[in-house]
């Protein structure tokens, strides 16, 4: 007989010994005033908008910010997640969706981006300022957005609009600007516009992995959020605006059937569908190892989650 109390003590001690060092406390503390300064910046801009009452665009200029706008937060240390893939369009798409969801529209009608330079985005926005000539992604998301989290002067309406514009550093994917506007910008003036809802935004390693999957006939892929997934998949998982890649694979897949805990001989079964959930990091990077696998639970209507893309081996 095994003593459960002792087993738990031993496992707990072993687990504690194996833990890596905690994130740097100083860095974590540094992030606290940055959050507050965002609010102060926003208040200053909002007050100016009310005073002048002629500006339709509200911009947050955050040159010292190391976090993308909205819910996307940088890690205090390097990400603990392995197999992170640097795949530009997919990263930009994931960040754009997370920001859109955070601003009230998890199902935006369009997401576009253009790779350009910081100085060129400034020219398009006609802000009159002079900014460094560094490579950036200018991202535009079309939908219905209201910034309920924004701090605004008493009596003012929260910023709202149909177009969110983001500027992301092309190397680090850190956000430097965020705005909600009533009308979209013409991104084509800056270069070739990338449709972030198209197949080109699928992480390349995801395509490779799926094509190599044994028994795969085809796969449906959708970039969505946890909260939208929760609408069609019964789960008690948290519902957040964090973006995920959701894959529904069709074919013939062998998997272990769940048996009682402690069983040393789990049964196997074959399913015609299998669903996989892949996380993205706070900077939009695709995490190649699936966080969840759903087996033997039938097929879901992915059109409720977003634009469905089909991949065939």
């Amino acid at each position: 007989m095994i003593d459960l109390n002792e087993t738990l003590r031993e496992r707990g001690a072993r687990w504690a010994e194996a833990q890596p060092a905690a994130p740097d406390l100083g860095t974590a503390i540094e992030r606290i005033p940055r959050r507050n300064s965002h609010i102060r910046s926003y208040l200053a801009v909002a007050a100016a908008v009310l005073a002048v009452a002629v500006v339709s665009t509200i911009w947050l200029i955050r040159p010292s910010d190391h976090s993308p706008p909205g819910p996307v937060r940088a890690s205090a240390t390097s990400t603990p997640l392995k197999a992170v893939v640097n795949d530009a369009a997919s990263r930009v798409a994931a960040i754009a969706l997370q920001v859109a969801a955070n601003e009230g529209d998890p199902a935006p009608t369009a997401m576009q981006a253009v790779r350009t330079t910081r100085s060129d985005t400034d020219r398009l926005e006609d802000s009159g300022s002079s900014l460094p000539d560094v490579p950036v992604w200018l991202v535009q998301v079309i939908g219905n957005f209201v910034c309920h989290d924004c701090k605004i002067p008493p009596g003012a309406d929260p910023p709202s609009g149909t177009a969110i514009t983001l500027v992301l550093d092309a190397v680090t994917y850190e956000g430097s600007e965020f705005g909600i506007d009533k009308k979209p910008l013409d991104l084509s003036k800056l270069g070739e516009v990338v449709d972030l809802s198209a197949a080109g935004a699928i992480p390349s390693l995801l395509s490779q992995k799926l094509r190599a999957t044994k028994g795969l006939d085809h796969a449906e892929i959708v970039l969505t959020t946890w909260s939208r997934l929760h609408r069609i998949v019964h789960t008690d998982l948290r519902t957040t605006s964090v973006a995920i890649w959701f894959v529904q694979a069709h074919g013939s897949f062998r998997h272990f059937a769940s048996g009682p805990i402690g069983s040393s001989h789990p049964a196997t079964a074959t399913s015609p569908t299998m669903q996989l959930v892949f996380y993205v990091t706070s900077h939009g990077a695709f995490v190649a190892k699936p966080q969840l696998i759903i087996e033997g639970h039938g097929s879901y209507d992915l059109s409720k989650l977003g634009t469905v893309l089909t991949l065939r081996p």
Partner: protein, 155 residues
């Protein structure tokens, strides 16, 4: 944040930062870094409310970490199977982890604090906002429940 204020806050948190990180890892899953950061933000915002006469700094900070995790996480999935991401774990480890995950929230919290953070019952009680006796009975109930999950080899 003023530099001296920041320094005081850092000195206050630093002795307990590792424990906060370990608890966030246990309770926060893949979002543990966000849980940890949220706990730190809570501590900063509520720092004026900390009362040393009502409990230790460790207890207070771990309580905030627990609160941050509670807000961040829901129960484990009922129909979805979490993929085991720890390649070095044995099947016994996985069974034990799954049994812990199937406990009630309070039972799991007691187990995590006692066995995985190594806290004595007296320090767990204020974090769970209950008496030491209740912590003991919660741990006992948790072990009993785990035995039913794990089969007849455990006593």
């Amino acid at each position: 944040m003023a530099r001296d204020e920041r320094g005081e806050f850092e000195a206050f948190v630093r002795p307990h930062w590792d424990a906060m990180a370990r608890l966030a890892r246990r309770l926060g899953g893949s979002d543990w870094e966000d849980v940890l950061q949220d706990a730190l933000v809570l501590a900063w915002r509520k720092r004026d409310r900390y009362d040393a006469e009502r409990g230790t700094a460790a207890t207070w900070l771990l309580t905030l970490t627990t609160d941050a995790a509670r807000k961040s996480l829901r129960k484990r999935p009922s129909v979805l199977e979490l993929v085991d991401t720890a390649g070095s774990e044995t099947s016994d480890d996985v069974d034990l982890a799954r049994a812990v995950a199937r406990l009630t929230d309070r039972q799991r919290l007691a187990v995590e604090l006692h066995y995985f953070l190594g806290l004595p019952v007296a320090e767990i009680a204020p974090i769970m906002n209950c008496s030491e006796g209740t912590v003991k009975s919660t741990l006992s109930d948790a072990r009993a429940r785990m035995r039913t999950y794990l089969g007849g080899n455990y006593r």
